[in-house]
Assembly symmetry: C2
Homo-oligomer: 139 residues x 2
DNA sequence: CTTGAAGCTACAATTGCTATAGGGATTAGG
DNA sequence: CCTAATCCCTATAGCAATTGTAGCTTCAAG
């Protein structure tokens, strides 16, 4: 198994779309693979490994520039992984901020919904809350 | 206070950028305001009210098309607010999904970080985790 | 009347893809 | 060997919701 594969195969194997694989190549995240006589991309296991790395990092929410930097850092061994650690912590902090914002949002939303009595729009608490400090009734 | 204001003024008042105000107008969310002799936009309190509504709804995470629909629904009174309620519940469910995804992400990230000993990249647990099922040491 | 801030339009860039058009390559079957 | 189905190719445009740019005009204060 594995070995040489077409773009459709590594895409399927890694849960990526074909266009996205080409997009990563264009962005310089995935090295340009050799081509068949007819000009089609032929991928090796190294490419698959790299692509999996990218996908996992994307699932962790890292941006493509961050991923590029991690790949770059990891390519020369012997360097300290402190920059990688810093990026991961930064990402964690970002995730924490997003969670906090969403939780505040969630409670505001559910409060709004609870107060809505389902009558008509002129008395809708949701619309009223969104309008805040102003009266929706004047046009 | 309030009354007639320039685009910069309502932008400042509502925590919006000037470009964004013009963008909402182009998208049809904000009605076209009258212009000064020189062609500059002159806003009334009605515009401010509308713009605040849009900003609050955006803070709640509603999309611009959703907001357009809510404005549309609320403009004719006497209609039931059930569609608004449905949109809000849908948005709440979406927020819940996002929170769940971010919490899973958070624990994966912090697990990764905890295992990292800060040595060099060749032994970095973060890079290893992202690479998963493959060995980063071969180039 | 001059100056500097603010406004105008139109268009490009952002992020990470996805979709489309208009072709060529590959492969399995007959 | 021929054909049909499926894949692949490049190039380009689109998405959401802004933000940024360039080059010009208008406004308000002194």
């Amino acid at each position: 198994m594995t070995g040489i594969s077409s773009i459709g195969e590594i895409a399927r194997d890694t849960g990526t779309s074909v266009q996205t694989v080409r997009y990563y190549e264009a962005r310089g995240l995935l090295p340009k693979p050799p081509r068949s006589d007819g000009g089609q991309r032929r991928y090796t296991d190294d490419h698959r490994t790299r692509l999996l790395f990218i996908r996992h990092a994307r699932e962790m929410g890292f941006s493509l520039p961050d991923i590029a930097e991690m790949i770059d850092l990891s390519s020369v061994s012997g360097k300290p992984c402190e920059p990688v650690d810093r990026m991961a912590r930064c990402q964690l902090a970002e995730v924490d901020r997003k969670i906090a914002r969403l939780q505040a949002l969630r409670s505001a939303l559910s409060g709004m919904i609870e107060r809505c009595d389902g009558e008509d729009v002129s008395s809708c608490r949701i619309l009223e809350t969104l309008g805040a400090s102003s009266h929706p009734e004047d046009k």
